[in-house]
């Protein structure tokens, strides 16, 4: 295995983390969805590279699924939803973005700190991948926690799922059945969430989660 294959794998995984940071920083919804598309595109590249390096043809299918569904179809559909909801000029109000970014840096450091010693015996090719995948997952969670808009929470969730995909691709790939079922479940989740967004909007005139809390009936 050449040194170049490590470097490319690391660059791609690192780019995924970088794109996650871009998502965290991006407060305009349409732009956010564009970044989500880029995120999935980078993931598709990373998976394809793994497929090439590991000589695992089934990973090409994973990469193709990622490319078609996650990087093209889902962001496009979300974009239409946003336009139909009339949110395309919306700018989300995220408090202290700088702090959130700093916290994100901390999370990346943490996941490297945790994962690198644990995977000391693992294949060096996958080692960094798994550590960076964990940081993508953590960044996705961080974004879900800090965002209020339902659409951006969905985008955060999808980026989190991309992180899991990256880890799986690094670990010699998931079995194809698992892969396809996950792809479908993401699709279903996306559909359900999309439908729900409309329903919520119809009912409450907003998709701001903060506003929805006022309607909860189970408060003391």
């Amino acid at each position: 295995m050449h040194a170049i294959s490590f470097d490319v794998a690391k660059i791609l995984a690192g780019s995924l983390v970088l794109t996650s940071f871009l998502m965290i920083y991006q407060v305009r919804l349409l732009a956010l969805l564009n970044v989500l598309g880029v995120h999935a595109f980078v993931l598709a590249l990373a998976v394809a590279w793994q497929a090439h390096v590991q000589a695992a043809p089934e990973l090409y299918i994973t990469a193709a699924i990622t490319l078609i569904f996650k990087s093209a179809l889902i962001p496009e559909a979300l974009r239409r939803i946003v336009v139909r909801l009339g949110l395309h000029r919306e700018i989300e109000n995220v408090t202290s973005l700088g702090l959130v970014m700093l916290a994100g840096v901390g999370l990346v450091a943490l996941s490297l700190e945790v994962m690198l010693p644990v995977t000391a015996q693992a294949d060096p090719l996958t080692r960094t991948d798994i550590a960076l995948a964990l940081s993508v997952v953590l960044l996705g969670l961080l974004m879900m926690v800090t965002r209020r808009n339902a659409v951006s929470q969905v985008a955060a969730f999808l980026s989190l799922e991309n992180g899991i995909d990256l880890a799986a691709a690094g670990a010699r790939g998931m079995p194809l059945v698992v892969e396809i079922s996950i792809a479908f479940s993401v699709l279903v989740a996306f559909l359900v969430i999309g439908v729900f967004l409309f329903r919520i909007r119809e009912r409450f005139d907003t998709v701001d989660m903060h506003a929805l809390d006022a309607f909860r009936g189970d408060r003391k």
């Binding site: 943490l110 010693p117 644990v118 879900m144 926690v145 209020r148 003391k220």
Partner: protein
């Protein structure tokens, strides 16, 4: 091994019959339980003397562990104990079950209870063991709640369930610790993996908590006097006589077999808890006027005595004194066997009294020896046996325990030097108090004049119940006369766990028992029995020869003024009063208040006694308050926004990762 599993399976099927047929199945369920128990008892007996342990792995349970079963000498002995109790309780149940109010509720769970008791004993991996253990807890909880309309029973069931969950949780931690990072959950793997002293110490303390909570070791005994009396009497007998023994089996299995070498300090802890349990248990029993609660507290006491024996065995083993360890272990297991028999017998008797009179309160009984002669005779034997009177079996095991205590000078460690004599003194005190307690039980409930109409009109119970009681009484006598049989039968267990055994006893002339050396001590139950029989017959002969031949019935002496009201008799409370004043005032918070009516008032003066359990007030009540307070504080967590919940998940994840990063 296969036979055991088929027996357990048969019990489970029998439970289903109980569910669907209800009361009609009374004879079938108890009769079949009797048969299966007898068969399983024979299997246990064979395993006790079998050459090699039988093992079996079935592809059940968790996929990568499977279900391991093993029948070695220890398991064989406890299988025998469990099923001996099962035979007795089933025989008793054939008759007693007919009067059961909620027959279907008992019949459905009774065979399952027996099945789980057997399953715990043969389980050989953590998963199977915990599964059987928890099933045993749940099924016995259902039996405790058989009469669930009584609010006291509901509380008993709740406390029992909480304690049972605690015990299950703690044992889960024990096995988690012992299995290690690689997840060796089979006991064979745990035995092979020698844990570090720190891990072994923590696992031992947790195992003592988990099994002690089920056996009724103080301070985890609080559920036992509530739950055992609440169940139907033959189930009470099984719970007190057998289930506590299964808990002790679990302790022996973990402490002596799986963990292996333990420090001397662990023996000190066991000895201290055992001594406290024995002393406080019997003191509680002495204060009690409810027949079944008294017996339940006495179970606590006996569990304490057994733990003293086990603690001695651990102390001797840790000091490298294998012969002493064998003696102490034999004494403890002998007591396990004895207690299973006579506590079953006593609970049967209490159940007979309950079904004959509808009363459990001793202060409303009395004079039953005339109405229930056979029950009374069996109860007398049971009371004498539990009070450790020779020539019955209770004496043998307590005598053996004392012999082990007297070996103390061989021990070097100062904790043990202090603890063992203290336990010896406590054991002596306990033996005396037990005597007083069962004199009280028999004297108040069976002698004297009836204190209520129910007691006056009582009728002897059915023949199955009587057969169960008299059979158990006969067993008490036989074991007392031929203790060597059981001591020799326990030799394989001692050899398996400690590598040595006591000298063979049955070969000794005149069926003597010589645990260590003839110059040191020996006991011959047969001689004592012959002496008692001869002395009694000669006395009777002499009285009848030289005094009057006729049996006269005359009014009892009552200060020369026979009052017909039975209220003038000595009561249980008055019998216990001196002991209550001496011991219970400080230990159990006993208080007496005298109410004197003002001059001119015609109301009678009253004396009222109050008892409290300081352990409950110091330990359980604050814990309950604390948990309620915490639950109250945390209640608002039920009403958070989705983002807050997500944030919780996130923070928890990051905190765990941080801990992992720092810990490395």
């Amino acid at each position: 091994m296969i036979a055991t599993l088929f027996g357990i399976l048969a019990f489970l099927v029998l439970g289903l019959i109980g569910v669907f047929r209800g009361r009609d199945a009374n004879g079938i369920v108890y009769g079949a339980s009797l048969g299966i128990s007898a068969a399983l008892g024979i299997v246990g007996l064979r395993a006790l003397f079998g050459a090699a342990p039988a093992t079996l792995v079935l592809p059940l349970g968790l996929p990568w562990i499977g279900a391991h079963f093993r029948l070695d000498a220890l398991a064989g002995f406890f299988l025998l104990v469990v099923n001996l109790g099962g035979v007795g309780a089933s025989l008793y149940g054939i008759g007693h079950g007919r009067h059961e109010r909620d027959a279907a509720r008992v019949l459905a769970f009774y065979p399952w209870f027996l099945a789980t008791l057997n399953l715990v004993v043969v389980a050989d991996d953590a998963f199977t063991f915990l599964f059987a253990w928890e099933l045993m807890s749940v099924v016995s909880w259902a039996l405790v709640l058989a009469h669930h309309r009584d609010p006291a029973n509901i509380r008993a069931g709740f406390v029992y369930l909480v304690m049972a969950s605690l015990s299950g949780l703690v044992l889960l931690l024990v096995f988690g610790l012992l299995a290690g990072a690689n997840g060796g959950y089979a006991f064979t793997l745990m035995r092979a993996a020698r844990p570090t002293p720190g891990i072994a110490g923590v696992a031992f303390v947790l195992a003592l908590l988990g099994t002690g909570a089920k056996a009724g070791l103080m301070p985890l005994h609080a559920w036992l006097p509530l739950a055992h009396p609440a169940a139907p009497s033959h189930v009470s007998a099984l719970m007190s006589g057998v289930m506590t023994k299964v808990a002790i089996y679990a302790f022996v299995r973990i402490a002596f077999d799986v963990l292996g070498d333990l420090s001397q300090w662990s023996a000190v802890v066991v000895l201290a808890l055992g001594g406290a349990t024995a002393g406080l248990g019997i003191l509680h029993a002495l204060m009690e006027s409810d027949l079944k609660r008294l017996l339940a507290y006495s179970t606590v006491e006996n569990v304490g005595i057994i733990f003293i024996g086990l603690g001695l065995a651990m102390a001797f083993r840790a000091s490298g004194f294998a012969a002493g360890a064998a003696l102490a272990l034999t004494a403890a297991l002998f007591h396990v066997f004895n207690h299973a028999i006579y506590k079953s017998l006593l609970f049967f008797g209490a159940g007979a009294v309950l079904s004959a009179t509808g009363e459990r309160d001793m202060e409303r009984l009395g004079g039953l020896i005339h109405r229930l002669p056979q029950t009374s005779f069996a109860m007398l034997i049971g009371c004498a046996a539990i009070a450790a009177l020779p020539p019955l079996n209770g004496f043998v095991s307590e005598w053996l325990t004392f012999q082990a205590i007297l070996l103390r000078p061989a021990l070097p460690q100062w904790g043990l030097k202090l603890m063992i004599p203290a336990d010896g003194a406590l054991l002596a005190l306990t033996a005396a108090l037990t005597g007083a307690c069962f004199v009280k039980l028999f004297g108040i409930a069976f002698l004297g004049r009836p204190r209520s109409d129910a007691a006056r009109d009582a009728h002897e119970v059915d023949r199955f119940s009587r057969a169960a009681m008299l059979g158990a009484a006969l067993l008490c006598l036989l074991l007392g006369l031929l203790p060597g049989v059981l001591v020799d039968a326990l030799a394989p267990v001692a050899r398996e766990l400690l590598g040595v055994r006591l000298a063979e006893q049955m070969a000794l002339p005149w069926l003597s028992l010589i645990p260590i050396a003839a110059v040191r001590s020996s006991y011959n139950g047969l001689l004592v029995f012959l002496f008692i029989v001869l002395a009694t017959s000669l006395t009777i002969l002499a009285i009848h020869r030289f005094a009057s031949r006729a049996i006269r019935r005359a009014p009892a002496w009552d200060c020369g003024f026979p009052d017909t009201s039975p209220i003038t008799q000595y009561t249980g409370a008055s019998f216990a009063q001196p002991i209550r004043r001496v011991f219970a005032a400080s230990l159990l918070g006993a208080r007496e208040t005298v109410f004197m009516p003002p001059p001119g008032d015609m109301a009678p003066a009253r004396i009222e006694k109050t008892l409290s359990d300081p352990l409950w007030e110091a330990l359980y009540a604050p814990l309950g308050v604390w948990i309620a307070w915490l639950a109250d504080r945390l209640n608002h967590l039920q009403f958070l926004t989705i983002r807050r919940y997500l944030a919780f998940v996130f923070v928890a994840l990051v905190a765990l990762l941080l801990a992992l990063a720092l810990w490395q």
